[in-house]
């Protein structure tokens, strides 16, 4: 796990999930799993967030919401797709209103498997996201210009 000088803040958005993963994301912030011990703070504001946790697939209506939230986050930013629905659409893949996983709409850096994803794997996903975040901030600190908004 990389060393950080600042606390990375995470934000959670529920795509078209069944609630299972959302509740597990919340559960990983509560006393038993307590992700705050890694310095991670949960925020509700995309403008303050470094890591975006998305649960559930993308449907044709929330697509624009997800895009908007992603564009509101400051660089560098990392997206974690939590749960199998966020990775590929999962059991709802064949539903008429489901577009697919999160990567059909915004770039995803870390995929967390599971249905519902267990808090342990969510924490593991966030730790992996921290590594990606460190690489991205090192790249953007370098003189060459980083990637602009997707």
């Amino acid at each position: 796990m990389p060393k950080f000088t600042k606390s990375p803040w995470v934000m959670h958005y529920d795509g078209s999930s069944c609630n299972g993963c959302d509740i597990e994301v919340l559960a990983s912030m509560t006393p038993l799993y307590d992700i705050e011990r890694l310095g991670v703070v949960n925020t509700g504001d995309p403008r303050q967030a470094d890591i975006l946790l998305i649960t559930g697939g993308i449907n044709y209506y929330n697509e624009s919401v997800v895009r908007q939230i992603y564009s509101q986050m400051p660089e560098p930013k990392v997206v974690v797709a939590v749960g199998i629905c966020a990775c590929s659409g999962g059991v709802f893949r064949d539903c008429y209103n489901i577009k697919g996983g999160v990567d059909t709409t915004i770039p995803v850096d870390v995929y967390v498997p599971g249905c519902a994803a267990r808090p342990e794997s969510i924490i593991d996903g966030i730790v992996q996201a921290l590594e990606v975040l460190e690489k991205k901030s090192a790249a953007s600190a370098a003189p060459t210009e980083g990637e602009s908004n997707a």
Binding site: Y60, Y61, Y96, N97
Partner: protein
Amino acid sequence: MPNIVETVSIGPAVLKRYIKEAAAEGCRLVQIHANRTRDGYQLIYSIASGYHLINLEMVISEDTEVESISGTYPAAQLYEQEMAELFGVKIVGIPEDPRVKLYHVQGHPMK
């Protein structure tokens, strides 16, 4: 408490009167849903008095216009909108508010 489900077949003309009588007796509206049949729809209005459930069943053709019962039960509006959006059932008399939309889907996916 026995689980009684009673089914009563009615026509679209008497629906509103039937529902009004039920409301006057203090029945709850449990749900409304539509089933697709070959050339139309089967609408089921479930009302309950205590634990006793009555399914009002109504078979209609695709073009039949059904009157909204949201004047009696305001909560019926959501169910009626659901039927209209997903199945394309023609409901007349839903209080018009263009901003309230339920699922924002294209067309009628379950038609």
